[in-house]
């Protein structure tokens, strides 16, 4: 008997909060009956979690930093919204900023989820919709986000379609709200942005689970192998296929073909950005060039014979750049076709012939297996002829080029980080390449190429940068632990209590892109600082690659130095961008496995639990993309604070708390029914720091939670004070706000802290037993549909 197919709005229309005896069908077709305690919000619509959003925003009021004073989205405009003026449609500057944030989150959620949809359908076609979702013996709660939002666990690949359908519908409604003359309140735009972020988290989980099970990627393996990484790991004498983007299907097609033909020793397959991470999760013989910051440098180096692009974060001028050194481009998804002819149905050898005879600049091939065959064959046939093209201009030529510099200084002015590019070019003109090397190292220059666009003498600054970097090719060899995917249930059982009680000082996730203010090393240094202090450090995507590019004083990468366990001092690479889902996933699993909170349809209770008890903090130091905006906004809704780098203010909106408004920190004690004065923990939900040092201290503070035991609070305050002393030179004055009773005071700093308490007229506070920002009596949910 098939499961009963209730109408989609059944639960809401009946306002039923608990369902017992949902009938499910197991994978062998036998009828079983599972008891599912359904919470109030299965498949929440845009407005169903609005009350939760309002509670978050009462405490963490949106802070707007308009990036643009105008609105140019309709033909009424441009409208100037400066200083209280409204647009022709009636919108004000706050609502317009929130609208742009919503739009960014919708774009981000769509990018992750369209990627997930493509993967899902491709993998269903390959493996069948009944292919089981089995993440191994140690993971029973295999899809915590899907369980919480959809209200059921997916058992087969085909089951993921239900979650995908739901996500797509929600994103459509959210995007429609961006149209002129729809939403008018900034707070409601924010609520929708939070929903879009949540949908982003869901889409990512669908995508990663699908690829893990169907492509047999590591399943929560803490001992996932170390894989080679760095520009220097590629054998330039071999044909080289470079994959850029995020969707593993085409890269997997290349690897499959190379393996099937026994060409592993003859062809180099490497990747940039998340495509790199995911092809190494698929096959560890592939190599990671590095994060997105390597893109233009590596393309300009001419080493790649064929560039396979899939989707997201790829330079949109990749074809133009590739043509400069006769490299061939194969586009592989509907997201990026680059104006190339669609040869999906053409014979592979004919495509190869057209490419090597220069009849076409590149090809659009939407069949991953054919991509693999064409890319490999083309690379093998043109590599020898391209030998000379793999060489950049020699140093004499570089010096000559640099002598063209007129010292106008505009290269520095248009640089996102105002790095001293002009001085570096002038140095090169005199044969001193050290300043350019300083910018190459650690991706201080992440080769966006804006300087080159501005140069009035057309100096190929990025090629000069790439060539000078080659002087250090041997040093560009690092490693990264292959992305392990989700956290195991058994690990959650081990660390759940220490995290919730505060005995383990925190879980810190370094994620996101490479728009770093002062180079990549800052991220690795922050990770190292917290690893040494017994925090759990989780990472993914470009952040994970960035961490792997750093060596400590002994010459070890952090992946060599620290284990991949989800435990104190563990450095856990979950995988690519879509694997980010496992980070809030781990927090959700703590609520479920440790605290026995039911997940199904129970978003608010789970998020409230995470906000008040799970000392987790995200860090997106170089966030640049709309995806990163959606990721951060999504985890914010789960109750996880995020620290951004200074460029993060360009997202236009932060969520900041006010420690001087004590009433906003009051908590409801769900056990006693009392309202209790709380502390500003976490103080902010979305914060942007100006320097690494400021961020480091903020991260430690943002791991404090109302639920900490006194022992746990001592530990967390000890780190906060330690780091504040290190980077600010003294004990933080606000420490008194986090001391509830004397037992909370760290022993090492007892006297100093007591002095501050006395100065501030501190009085002990009542300890809370079950902290919550939710109402004591759950209000009736609106149906929203």
């Amino acid at each position: 008997m098939a499961p009963k197919d209730f109408k989609e709005d059944f639960w809401k229309s009946k306002d039923i909060k608990i369902s017992i005896g949902e009938i499910t069908q197991d994978e062998v077709g036998e009828e079983t009956q599972e008891t599912v305690q359904m919470g109030p919000t299965p498949k929440p619509h845009v407005t169903d979690l609005r009350e939760w959003d309002m509670k978050l925003m009462e405490r963490y009021e949106p802070f707007y930093a308009p990036f643009c004073d105008m609105c140019c989205l309709c033909t009424y405009g441009k409208c100037d919204l400066t200083a209280g003026k409204k647009g022709a449609c009636g919108i004000d500057i706050k609502a317009q900023q929130a609208r742009m944030v919503l739009l960014a989150c919708c774009i981000g959620a769509a990018a992750h989820s369209a990627h997930a949809r493509h993967l899902l359908e491709y993998l269903i076609e390959k493996r069948g919709e009944d292919f089981p979702i089995d993440l191994g013996m140690n993971i029973d709660i295999e899809a915590p986000i899907i369980r919480t939002l959809i209200g059921k666990a997916p058992k087969k690949l085909g089951d993921l379609r239900e979650a995908m359908d739901y996500m797509e519908e929600q994103n459509l409604h959210l995007l429609s709200a961006c149209h002129t003359g729809q939403e008018g309140s900034n707070i409601d735009f924010e609520s929708k942005a939070l929903h879009a972020g949540l949908m982003d988290n869901l889409g990512k989980e669908i995508g990663d689970i699908a690829q893990i099970v169907a492509l047999n990627m590591p399943k929560g393996d803490e001992d996932a192998p170390l894989v080679e990484m760095g520009v220097g790991t590629v054998d330039r004498d071999k044909p080289v296929v470079l994959c850029i983007g995020h969707n593993v299907s085409s890269g997997a097609g290349v690897i499959d073909y190379v393996e099937d033909e026994g060409l592993e020793d003859n062809v180099e397959v490497c990747g940039i950005c998340c495509a790199a991470i995911d092809i190494t999760r698929y096959n560890q013989h592939a190599k990671v060039i590095g994060p997105i910051s390597k893109q233009l440098k590596f393309i300009r180096s001419g080493v790649a014979d064929v560039i396979v692009v899939d989707e997201q974060c790829i330079r949109t001028d990749v074809l133009e750049e590739a043509k400069k050194n006769q490299c061939k481009v194969i586009a592989t998804t509907d997201k990026m076709c680059l104006g190339l002819p669609n040869l999906t149905d053409e014979d592979a050898d004919k495509i190869v012939a057209q490419l090597i005879n220069n009849q076409i600049e590149g090809a659009l091939i939407l069949d991953p297996d054919k991509v693999g065959e064409v890319a490999t064959k083309v690379a093998m046939q043109i590599a020898d002829d391209r030998g000379m093209l793999k060489l950049l201009p020699d140093m004499d030529e570089i010096q000559k080029m640099a002598k063209e510099c007129t010292e106008c200084g505009w290269c520095t002015r248009v640089c996102p980080n105002s790095i001293p590019m002009m001085e570096a070019v002038m140095g090169a003109s005199e044969g001193d390449f050290s300043k350019m090397e300083e910018l190459y190292d650690n991706d201080v220059c992440y080769t966006c190429g804006r300087c080159e666009q501005e140069c009035e003498r057309d100096i190929p600054i990025m090629s000069i940068m790439a060539k000078i970097g080659e002087n250090k090719l041997k040093e560009q060899r690092f490693n990264i632990r292959a992305g392990r995917g989700p956290i195991q249930d058994v690990e959650i059982r081990k660390v759940g209590a220490p995290i919730v009680l505060g005995d383990l000082p925190g879980v810190i996730a370094f994620v996101g892109c490479t728009n770093y203010p002062e180079g990549a090393q800052d991220v690795a240094k922050m990770a190292e600082e917290f690893l040494e202090r017994n925090y759990i450090v989780v990472t993914s995507g470009c952040g994970a690659m960035t961490i792997g590019e750093y060596r400590d004083d002994e010459g070890k990468t952090l992946y060599e130095k620290y284990s991949g366990d989800f435990d104190a001092k563990g450095l856990v690479n979950v995988g690519s961008c879509v694997s980010n889902a496992h980070i809030p996933g781990a927090c959700i699993k703590i609520a479920n496995i440790f605290a026995k909170k039911p997940l199904e349809g129970n978003f608010e209770e789970i998020s409230d639990y995470i906000l008040n008890r799970v000392g987790a903090c995200g860090v997106a130091w170089g966030a640049y993309s709309q995806k990163a905006a959606a990721i951060a906004t999504g985890v914010n809704r789960w109750g996880i604070p995020v620290v951004l780098g200074p460029h993060g203010t360009k997202y236009r909106r932060l969520y900041l708390g006010r420690t001087d408004k004590e009433e906003t920190w009051q908590l409801n004690d769900m056990r006693t029914g009392n309202v209790v004065n709380g502390e500003p923990a976490p103080e902010h939900l979305l914060y942007a720091a100006e320097t690494r040092e400021e961020a480091t201290v903020a991260i430690a503070k943002l791991c404090i939670r109302p639920n900490d035991t006194s022992k746990g609070r001592q530990l967390k305050l000890n780190h906060y004070i330690d780091l504040h002393k290190k980077y600010f030179g003294d004990i933080p004055e606000d420490v008194y706000k986090f001391v509830r009773v004397e037992k909370d005071i760290p022993i090492t700093y007892k006297k100093d802290v007591k002095d501050i308490l006395e100065e501030k007229g501190w009085e002990p506070r009542q300890l809370i037993q079950e902290p919550s920002i939710r109402d004591f009596k759950e209000k009736k949910k609106s149906s929203g549909k």
């Binding site: 930093a65 004073d69 105002s418 942007a688 100006e690 030179g729």
Partner: protein
Amino acid sequence: MNERVIPWQPTVIAGPKQAMLVTPETAKMMLKKSKRPLFVIGPLVEGDPIMKLTMEIADHWNLPIATTGNVYKIFKERGVETTPYGIVEIVNLLKDPDWNGVNGDGQHDLVMFIGCIYYIASQGLSTLKHFAPHLKTLTICKFFHSNADASFPNMNDDEWLKYLEKMKYD
């Protein structure tokens, strides 16, 4: 267009409302007129002669100092008391007309910035331009900040040092 008043990072231009270019004389007039000024000093002020000059300017005009990033530490080491804030935190407080100010004497009516990272400062100044009509913003960096109410122009180091020297006196 006069190069001196194109924003240092030219793409921060946000709209029709642009800062007024000011000389030290005008900047000093603004300070004289202000009842509760605040000096916000960012992490790019990390060594002499700029650090010494900022300390002398603060001293002459009796300005309370808020330090952003982690520059608090080096000012403390030089014996200068400042209050540390994240730049987004201080801007968030400044936009609230009911905030009582760094010293608890009431919201500030003039905020003078120096040494914050250009683009994050630009974002903060944008916040204050839109949401803090109760105060004026003045930047004395060597870069023109179009989102401020008043700003020094783009300058080379020599000219900037001369401007800052002039700020030390009435």
